[in-house]
Amino acid sequence: MAAHWLERECDVLVIGAGAAGLRAAIAAAGQGARVAVACKSLLGKAATVLERAVPAADEELEGWGALPLATRGEKVGLETLRTLQHRAVSLGIEVHMECAIQRLFASRGRVAGALGVRRADGALVRFRAGAVVLAAGGAARLWQRDIAAADATGDAFALALDAGAELADMDLETGGVRVDPATGATTVPGLHSAGDAAAGKHALLEVLLLARRAGEHAAAYARSHPRALLSVERIERAVTELLRPFGMENGESPYALLLDLQDCMQNREGLAGLKQRAKRLAAAGPRAWNPAWLLALELRSLLVAAEATMSAAVQREASLETRRA
């Protein structure tokens, strides 16, 4: 079967629709950029709803209709997310809900767009974009089995590495995509990051401020640089990889592999074996809204996040040993 995908075009592609992604999207649109947001879930379901640390006040959010944040207690995340959601929608920002970005492309060292899976029908969607903001959250699902944000599967880390960007401090809670905090710029031109995806632990209002900068700088980058070109062969190759679980006979269950990976994060052993098993992940059934397939794809990101976390820990210990010696 010939590889087939849909084409979408924008100036700035924002990956993720939590507080960081939406704030970045609003900022980029404010600079006149044509913005597309792609998020794995429905709009308004991001892990931001679980945020409970209450900031004193935020004039900008209140100017967009939020109640004073200090009055919102444990609903402060919901208040923030809903306010940004309404703002983004009223600005006419294009939102691709339930479109899970799986690959980020770079060409000649610059960001060149992304490829995602539309959950509803399993269609593959290629986004041409002048700049990208990675705001896809962290990798909480590596650790959490019970109360968990389903989407926090470390996608931002795998996507950043796809494009050649660097990660920092992955063994610490502050770990993530390395960025210049003044601009949200990663080490790859055109690629920005904000929120839990980016390195540096920030409270809600700092996340909003840094995401705004990332969105503005992404818009400026897209405006001042010609689009990077990408060969069709690279997209075809990625499409083939994404569809591989459907052809796998007697393959691995993605559900079982996730449980074993969560154990591995506790025991700190066996990751190499899990990576081998991940090559044989299988999904049966149709492409439309197929959770086994979607989890199989997410496991690539989870394994990248696991490996980055563990190798960062090993390096840090070695470096401490050297200093002690």
């Binding site: 109640l67 109360i147 809204w289």
Partner: protein
Amino acid sequence: MPERTLNVWRGDASGGAFTPYRLQAAEGMTVLDALHRVQAGEAPDLAVRWNCKAGKCGSCSAEVNGRPALLCMTRLSSLPESATVAPLKAFPVIRDLVTDVSFNYRKAAEVGAFAPRDATMGAPLYQEDVDRLREFHNCIECFLCQDVCHVIRDHEEHKPRYSGPRFFVRLAALEMHPRDAGDRVAFAEQNAGLGRCNVTKCCSEVCPEGIRITDNAIIPLKERAADRYRDPLARLLGLFSNSRKDA
């Protein structure tokens, strides 16, 4: 632990049927936990939306034994030994328990933004305003109220000009916000189909956040609409005075 049967609707837009899944119920297990166990076992491709597993995000809406509910907040112990799980009936099925809820996002886009003016932005926001609005702002957009609303559920022909309870809550929140200058009563009456709601309170009954949708959002909007559009004396007086919202 007792053995239980979940009869789960499996299918797509072309049709489907209930499939029984038997499982051992663990202490405190929710319907969503049970469905995840079914996915990990005999039905890996069973489609169900979920995110926070804590009743905060409103993703896992479905109908359990015919009643709209969040799957992550419905314990198996609250159900009979055999129970059914079906997709929301008011929206088109995509696959299994996942429905196309884009109707709600189209209606949200029609409402438009919070619209302060320079004159209203300085208006005080008193504690009583916050107390009244807080309830509306707690909506998690699970769309259970939309699912149970008979106008949406049973009258496809009204959907183009009817927004439903979730958006009456949103319009009430804007209407009662001292700094919003939009004419929300006119929108509710003329664009959102407020008059079609006949206050059966089904929406309030299924709201997982306990928002008193009918009493606190819909009825006050209806009263304001009635004052403006159906009270002849008020209409006459309205010719000679400008209310804040009309200014």
